[in-house]
Subunit: 193 residues, 2 copies
DNA sequence: GTCTATAGAAAGATAGAC
DNA sequence: GTCTATCTTTCTATAGAC
């Protein structure tokens, strides 16, 4: 790849990472193109050399957010079977995930926004969701079957709902209960004890 | 109450209902005060006789959304015990709840937005969430105990996560799987079979 | 490809008539 | 209390220099 093409790709990636991070923290509508570009170390005007509109960027930002997310990193760690599942569940249903807005799960914190977007964005979300399920199942080896697939989907729904609700709550005792209740049920559902 | 006070209250309620409906469907940031007032049958200027700002309204809109929601209506239906639980779960984890943006659960579709708001809004959400759990438990009579409370919280998290994710997905086969998987697990968790 | 400057539209909030 | 009119800010997107 020529130098200029490489540099363009580098800028493009920076923009997508910046957008993914800001959309996760503040929501699509609350982030301006100015915010995205300054956060990426550039200025407003350069944006349209990479994306035709803010909406068009959203599609790629969803995929970028998944790539940078904690679940994908856990999948890259080489863990397998129940060890992998425990690792994902413990990290996901933690106070840190509720409090630190910096590294949040895109499946949870982009869901409401994405549900209101056009088809292209929702298709990107669907792809990310399906791939995440599939990759988890592929690391379960002997445990992988249709029943396990159903359990993983249900467990993921519970984890997503738990962190979403918890982040909106002000009562920290209730947040702790939610995390503990859901962790316990997911453990039981996936037979992780 | 004098006529004028009654009329003011009536207008105020209309504004809150209009806002609750629009915030649920489009998200807080995508709805303008103009939208809210026109949807309530009034015009822009009158807004500030009722609320000091759009943010201040949000707090009351969260409570109004819960009052108008399907779960509260199920609680008002007089059902009790497992019959009530089945009724709530079946209505919640349905294609209708995923597709019809008109009457959505505020605990799910306001969560991401509320999590980014100031304390007053999040306190209103916390109050709504706690009350919903408490009211469900109070209708379970003999079934009500600490273990059941844990199960209800976990079940609610799964239901919230399921409809949130499902509404963002484009693959309708996957949506059906999510709804069915979660319904099955919630039934098992709450012993509704 | 990235910059500064700016056009054009939309939004939150206020002023004053009735 | 509700209306129309308007101030001010902010945003998306474009134009033109380098």
């Amino acid at each position: 790849m020529p130098i200029s093409k490489e540099q363009k790709q580098e800028s493009r990636t920076k923009i997508m990472q910046s957008a993914a991070s800001l959309f996760l923290q503040q929501g699509f509508a609350n982030v301006s193109i100015d915010d995205i570009m300054l956060n990426a170390g550039m200025t407003r005007g350069g944006f349209y050399a990479h994306f035709e509109s803010k909406e068009a960027l959203y599609e790629y930002a969803v995929i970028q957010a998944a790539r940078d997310g904690a679940v994908m990193h856990a999948l890259d760690s080489g863990r397998q079977g129940k060890d992998l599942l425990r690792h994902i569940v413990d990290a996901y249903l933690s106070i840190g995930h509720v409090q630190q807005k910096a590294s949040s799960c895109p499946l949870a914190f982009l869901a409401a926004d994405v549900g209101r977007e056009e088809k292209r964005v929702r298709t990107a979300y669907t792809h990310v969701f399906s791939q995440m399920i599939e990759q988890i199942l592929n690391r379960l080896e002997a445990l992988k079957d249709a029943v396990m697939a159903r359990k993983v989907r249900a467990a993921l729904a519970m984890m997503v709902g738990c962190v979403m609700v918890s982040r909106a709550l002000t009562d920290q005792v209730l947040v702790s209960k939610m995390l503990e209740d859901c962790r316990r049920q997911v453990y039981q559902l996936l037979a992780l004890d």
